[in-house]
Symmetry: C3
Subunit: 139 residues, 3 copies
Amino acid sequence: MKSYRQELWFSINSRRGLLNITPQINVCLEESGISEGLCLVNAMHITASVFINDDEPGLHADYEKWLETLAPHEPITRYAHNLTGEDNGDAHLKRCIMGREVVVAITEGILDFGPWEQIFYGEFDGNRKKRVLVKIIGS
Amino acid sequence: MKSYRQELWFSINSRRGLLNITPQINVCLEESGISEGLCLVNAMHITASVFINDDEPGLHADYEKWLETLAPHEPITRYAHNLTGEDNGDAHLKRCIMGREVVVAITEGILDFGPWEQIFYGEFDGNRKKRVLVKIIGS
Amino acid sequence: MKSYRQELWFSINSRRGLLNITPQINVCLEESGISEGLCLVNAMHITASVFINDDEPGLHADYEKWLETLAPHEPITRYAHNLTGEDNGDAHLKRCIMGREVVVAITEGILDFGPWEQIFYGEFDGNRKKRVLVKIIGS
């Protein structure tokens, strides 16, 4: 069994934002030399997500509006977590909705995706550098 | 390390519906000949889910009602995504709640499940054929 | 390829509660002797979650309040599932938000985590013993 590990760093210059990281994952997969296996991609931070969906700007605007409805950023006093001095209580909840990680099948050396699947980094507490972990195992 | 791949096609004859696909996954597992490992089952479409829960009709009715509360289908103008000509903006959000994929342990040649765990395909934009990917790795 | 399996039993003495189970997963990892691979940790029950977030009591209070807003326990008549005689309809929905499972990279014999990542068992229908499955594969 072969294994591969890489950290990817991202910096979103706003509180929230979505970034298509499929090209970077493809580079990792090529570096790994693995043709059959599983690829785990996870946020290493607990106020960010990795998820799979469509690269369509309208949808991304819908996510932003919807997540703000389900877990509003303000007033920051609504979250007990913010009593620690943080203002990111909402980001911990938003990340639960969108998920920490994806596991993707690797088949014949490529990400085994349906027609519209793309991997996104979802930032909910940005304006700083944060990491995504890529771990691939297989043969 | 052995690996196995199969696509399963499903057609739900309504906009939304849930289907217990555990029998089909068991067939895949048997075909794979893998006795120890991990089994990934994921929707290949971004308006559908694969998730694990109970095969109880009342619960499935609760899911339907609850998801419509969290991300209503109508009015379709509420979603920027629908400006593309689609009417499935809600389906992209519902799938985030229910998840894209499950990873199941394989132990002694069977799905290593608790007493009530069953694998479901969740369709949120149906009336057409769509695919689920099964990838099993192990020994 | 090596594989390892363990069941962990937990009993939360209230309807709902969160428990940091990272120490128990570390014991499993050490027992496994696996240094490179993937570790699946999943609830074996469908009214409980395994998820990764921060071990901060204010955040845990926020989760409790937020999940009760999204899927209230009462009135129990609001859920069709409760017509079966159960009173845990809400627990099945809360577990969808928080997730069934996590997959964690194993690198050089340790859980490959960012600075604040901790694994939690989330109980939404407690007052009885329930199980978590740990499956590790790798080399």
